[in-house]
């Protein structure tokens, strides 16, 4: 039997190159091994992959390694063909066509590599292999994606909410709106330019409550209306405010004009109150805020009667106490006098602080019996009479009955049987006179009745009747004289009224029409400043108020500015307590009329508030404000 091994190779142009090699054998070995009859150099082919056997009219193909051969997509280890058939066997990338050559006995095994060798890497793999193009999303597509994200999320969604979900109605509870929120990104939070001030925190979710229209700055009307700050008034007339300001530098002028040009007008609420600057940012506390105008104000504001004030520790004038010049129950005359001029107060009272506070003095000795009743200590102290108000800032007014009355009793008679002490009414001199007269008259009548009963049987006849009437008149006249004496006693030196009050003597020396000079005690000497006693509770009263050496009620015991400067200095100080104007003064306040509109009224037309019966003061600040309301312009 002869095999013809026909090797077919194709040139790139498709032309076949055929080379025949006759082999005189009955079987052929096929494999990768070089000694195989049919040498198939590929690693997918086993060393000795198969054997082709010719037996009679059949041809067998038998796999001789553990790898199979393939015939018509069928893998197997053994295939038998007839001579007539053309068998097509695939081994690895090779195809073996086995057939009997016509006109000959030889069996042809035509071998052709049908699967071309392809290199592992192709030249076009270069960019995939070496660049990131196929590894990461493209730069252009990511850029588009992110831009759409930015524009949609940061522009369209907030704008959508601004125009569809307008919340101009601030009356609507914020809680309800929060319930309606669909997604987190909306103009309110996503566009918020900075933390809101504490007072406006609740508006952070509602830009529309202040920003009514797009591209338009917040207007004063918005702040002053809508039930927020509608009671607030300006510090002074706007024209005056503009005139009083220090002239701007050219640069400052340029900034102001630019601000005007871009719709941020001057002298708006928001010119000073800059929101979105943190919790405390909205209220300016800088000293220059006041200093800009009040420093050399008289040179710019000709008709002002305000004193120039620059900075607290440099050129703040000494304090001016508002003192009573002429006491009056309704309208006392007051005056503001600099503490440098040692002002005196004419309250109409006599009160020596020194005697009351003297160590080992008469007052101290008298306290012993009263300690249980009033809780006095060994010595009379300030707090025994001066009670802080509930705000803790200032003190409640002194009341005679409550404070002086602890020691200075107005009792004038004690019932020996019941122990009841008859007490005179304070503050009503006519009532005092009448009560005393009534008392002595009634005692005379009682004495007369009892003397009749003591005398035994009544004698008949006119003489007796006349004698009896005479005795009654005598008794009444005696009572009258006695009460006059007592009244004189109480209103004159050594008497209860005289100790504290200035007495108006009766015009007729024979009469007892005594009266008391009007009394007006300053509730606060500094109505234009706010002072908090409670924040100074680490100090003693006498550290500031020279009460221990004060012998007269007319002494004004207010400490001057030097006293404050011991601890407080301007806002930039390092070693002292930094203090700005607003620590003591207010800028806006409805009740602070002197601050709101510079007073144009007469210098001495001060009004003193009518004394209120209700002394349950809730707020020292309120008291100070009330006072200042009524003494507008009292300088």
């Amino acid at each position: 039997m002869t095999f013809i091994i026909r090797k077919i190779r194709r040139r790139p142009n498709g032309q076949e190159v055929v080379r025949d090699q006759p082999v005189l054998k009955s079987e052929l070995t096929v494999g990768r091994a070089t000694d195989c009859d049919i040498y198939l150099p590929d690693l997918r082919v086993s060393l000795n992959h198969a054997q082709i056997e010719a037996a009679g009219t059949s041809i067998r193909v038998v796999a001789t390694s553990d790898r199979p051969v393939q015939v018509k997509n069928k893998l197997g280890n053994r295939f038998v063909f007839s001579h007539k058939d053309q068998a097509e066997v695939e081994i690895g990338p090779y195809q073996l066509k086995i057939y009997k050559e016509e006109g000959s006995d030889s069996i042809v095994v035509a071998t052709e590599r049908i699967e071309e060798k392809t290199p592992t890497l192709q030249p076009e793999d270069e960019s995939k292999l070496f660049s990131l193009k196929k590894t990461l999303p493209g730069k252009r597509s990511s850029a588009w994606f992110l831009t759409v994200l930015a524009v949609a999320g940061s522009i369209f969604v907030p704008l959508y909410y601004f125009y569809t979900d307008r919340k101009a109605d601030v009356a609507e509870p914020i809680q309800t709106r929060a319930d309606q929120e669909l997604i987190g990104i909306r103009s309110d939070q996503w566009w918020l330019s900075g933390e809101m001030s504490t007072a406006h925190t609740s508006l952070a979710d509602n830009c529309n409550s202040c920003h009514l229209n797009a591209f338009e700055s917040v207007k004063d009307e918005t702040c002053l209306s809508s039930g927020c700050h509608d009671s607030l008034r300006n510090h002074a007339d706007t024209t005056d405010l503009k005139t009083a300001r220090e002239p701007l530098s050219p640069f400052g002028m340029m900034l102001r004009q630019t601000a005007d040009f871009v719709g941020k007008a001057d002298m708006r609420c928001a010119s000073c109150h800059l929101e979105h600057n943190g919790r405390d940012g909205i209220i300016l506390t800088t000293e220059s805020l006041c200093g800009d105008c009040h420093n050399e104000m008289d040179t710019r504001l000709a008709d002002t009667d305000l004193i120039n004030v620059g900075y607290f520790d440099k050129d703040h004038p000494n304090f001016r106490a508002t003192v009573v010049v002429e006491p009056d129950r309704q309208n006392p005359l007051t005056r503001r006098v600099s503490l440098d001029e040692n002002p005196t107060s004419n309250s109409g009272l006599k009160f020596p602080h020194d005697i009351h506070m003297e160590a080992g003095g008469a007052v101290e000795n008298d306290l012993e019996g009263l300690a249980d009743t009033y809780g006095f200590g060994e010595k009379l102290v300030c707090e025994d009479c001066h009670k802080a108000n509930t705000a803790g800032a200032l003190f409640l007014p002194i009341q005679m009955e409550k404070h002086c009355g602890m020691c200075h009793s107005l009792g004038f008679d004690k019932d020996p049987e019941t122990g009841y002490v008859r007490t005179l009414r304070h503050g009503e001199p006519e009532d005092v006179v009448a009560s005393m007269r009534d008392f002595y008259n009634s005692t005379a009548a009682v004495l007369f009745e009892s003397s009749n009963e003591v005398g035994g049987r009544r004698r008949p006849g006119d003489v007796a009747r006349l004698r009896q009437d005479r005795r009654l008149v005598d008794a009444l006249v005696g009572a009258d004289e006695r009460s006059n004496d007592k009244i004189r006693e109480i209103f004159n030196e050594g008497g209860a009224c005289f100790d504290c009050h200035t007495i108006v003597q009766p015009s007729d020396p024979e009469s007892v029409d005594y009266n008391i000079s009007p009394v007006s005690v300053e509730e606060t000497f500094m109505p234009k400043a706010i002072f908090h006693h409670d924040s100074h509770d680490n100090m003693d009263c006498v550290d500031c108020h020279d009460a221990e050496t004060s012998g007269e009620a007319s002494d004004v015991l207010m400490p001057g500015i030097d006293n404050c400067l011991d601890c407080h200095r301007g806002e930039t100080t390092v070693n002292f307590i930094p203090s700005n104007c607003l620590m003591c003064h207010e800028y806006h306040d409805e009740d602070h009329v002197p601050f709101m509109t510079p007073a144009k009224t007469s210098r001495h037309a001060a009004l003193w508030p009518s004394r209120k019966n209700d002394t349950a003061d809730n707020s020292a600040i309120a008291a100070a404000m009330e006072l200042s309301t009524t003494i507008a312009g009292g300088k």
Binding site: S65, L132, A150, F162, Q189
Partner: protein, 294 residues
């Protein structure tokens, strides 16, 4: 028509290789330093009430400068596609891009007044920082990686590397033919299953876990070292396959290092460019929102 003669000195400077970082003796570095120092000093001298932020006059000034700079810096993307010489050469532009871009760190930070929050304003700032920092990485890699890259690839082009790997595979194929099946399958895997590289982190690491070629090499080496009979059996054929695998592993390491360097050179741009455009979007929203709620 009279043509302006190019300045000779300038022309020579440009012709010689001077890095864009050193362009004109660091002209734009100096400019950027000047701008930054002036901005910082002014920040401390300007006394805004109640505090520094984007809404004071100084804040608006810095914001305007910053926004203008961002737009100009972005224009490099357009500018680099046109080629000119001299003062407005691409090199000059790139140098200015780098240094003025870095000065934005100071300008924009001072513009914020250190007021940050969860809002579009801080988003724009954050994106800007990402862009600048990715750019800084870019500069760092541009000045260090090319040298390492050329040392590594030893005059081979990328196509040559591919051809070399293919050639090695062909040699492996040839050399493995006489070997028995157990070794051949190892070699086949080395040829067919070797992953040159993978995802981003594989590229950055410069190595591939479970590389079929490396495994084939170590296994066949173990055979030669462990058993004398096998060596005898396979003889020189196994030895030559091992040496070819050895060459392949060296080549693979080189290619992978090359991929690592290329990744370092490219990756920052995949952040820098898309985030620049993202930033432009956020910046627009930032500016719009400020004027909208004026």
């Amino acid at each position: 028509m009279a043509r302006t003669k190019p300045n000779r000195k300038t022309h020579r400077d440009d012709a010689q290789h001077v890095s864009f970082l050193r362009h004109r003796n660091f002209r734009y570095l100096k400019l950027a330093m000047l701008i930054s120092i002036v901005a910082i000093i002014a920040y401390f001298f300007v006394d805004p009430t109640p505090r520094h932020n984007g809404g004071t006059w100084y804040g608006y000034t810095l914001g305007t400068i910053g926004a203008g700079l961002i737009v100009w810096l972005t224009l490099l993307g357009i500018r680099k596609r046109a080629i000119t010489q001299g003062a407005w050469s691409l090199k000059a532009w790139t140098s200015a891009h780098v240094y003025l871009g870095l000065s934005l760190l100071v300008i924009a930070t001072l513009h914020t007044g250190f007021q940050f929050g969860w809002n579009v304003h801080t988003l724009a700032y954050t994106l800007m920082m990402i862009v600048i920092i990715s750019g800084a990485f870019g500069i760092y890699f541009y000045s260090n990686v090319p040298r390492m890259m050329s040392e590594n690839r030893a005059d081979n082009t990328q196509q040559e590397m591919i051809a070399e790997l293919n050639a090695i595979d062909a040699q492996l194929e040839d050399a493995a033919r006489p070997l028995s099946a157990q070794y051949v399958s190892e070699v086949q895997r080395a040829i067919n299953d070797t992953k040159i590289t993978g995802g981003l982190f594989t590229r950055l690491s410069g190595r591939v876990n479970k590389c079929a070629s490396m495994r084939a090499l170590s296994r066949l080496r173990a055979v030669t070292e462990g058993s004398t009979t096998s060596v005898d059996e396979a003889g020189e054929d196994l030895g030559s396959v091992i040496s070819i695998l050895d060459r392949k592993s060296v080549m693979l390491n080189r290619v992978r290092r090359h991929i690592r360097y290329k990744t370092l050179l490219e990756l920052w741009l995949y952040v820098h460019v898309p985030f620049t455009i993202f930033l432009l979007g956020a910046l627009t929203a930032h500016i719009l929102s400020v004027f909208f709620y004026w």
